[in-house]
Symmetry: C2
Subunit: 134 residues, 2 copies
DNA sequence: CCCCGAAACGATAACAGGTTTCATTTTCGC
DNA sequence: GCGAAAATGAAACCTGTTATCGTTTCGGGG
């Protein structure tokens, strides 16, 4: 995560991004970085996330209320994220729990694009207790 | 799929929907039904898909070029669809190939919401040949 | 066959997320 | 410091989707 030229703005966004412990939207990132970069514009937050996505620092985790959300992706090897659709809490599935699905897909003549399934919708323990069926 | 009151419009949309052999957007459905219902408005197509989704006749299959797309969901039991992200071709995975993933998720304290994974991104054989890596 | 209330329709406007534009500001190499 | 290159951010724009609202269509009862 080279901030490139040392723009304070970019550094503030990077700090805010690193501090994210759950799935976050661009708007949330913007709000989180705002205290450290008061004049931060939403456009720049979008550009930062775009760059992070290209470099693999984050990956898309679907949408929440119509907004695209992302998760930090520190690990390098093949893995998948579990993302609580309610609170955004995340967990990592090491290895490839989708291998059976991939095999079944191949049998059907399709190649499963599990790369695009980097984030799997789930419900965390806390939210399961808190109720609201789904 | 009760067309409810026999509105020609609704019947035309239903016919067009049934004829869809691949994942389709609302706009595509609208275009497909237009010949049989010349004055068909886009709003009505949106309403039809909404109703179909509520009744389980179709299910969301992600987005393509920013448009939400849907797949027919004839089968009733637990199953998943494979959807080619390139051409929209679909296939059905009977049974639950995601059971291992579900088990792994439970071990991490998360409940995998495989209902929300009704459509899995994939690449069909034809498009795999046709090239364009992904 | 005609009338009536209810439901569905469809043109338009409103809305929201996301992207693009472009003038201004910041940074880096000299 | 100085200038070029890159980054920033406010605002305009585009597009998919939803809400509004007057009009049309349907089915049933007289």
């Amino acid at each position: 995560m080279d901030p490139g030229r040392n723009h304070r703005t970019r550094a503030a966004l990077l700090d805010a991004g690193r501090a994210m412990s759950r799935a976050f939207s661009v708007r949330e990132l913007h709000a989180a970085a705002l205290p450290k970069a008061p004049r931060l514009g939403l456009t720049t937050a979008y550009r930062a996330v775009e760059r992070w996505r290209d470099t693999g620092f984050v990956e898309p985790a679907g949408t929440r209320d119509g907004e695209a959300v992302y998760v930090l992706c520190g690990a390098a090897g093949h893995h998948h994220h579990l993302v609580c659709v309610r609170c955004g809490a995340t967990s990592v599935l090491e290895g490839c729990a989708l291998e059976p699905a991939r095999a079944a897909s191949a049998a059907a003549g399709f190649e499963l694009l599990d790369r695009q399934l980097g984030a799997l919708p789930a419900r965390c323990g806390d939210c399961a207790e808190a109720g609201a069926d789904g």
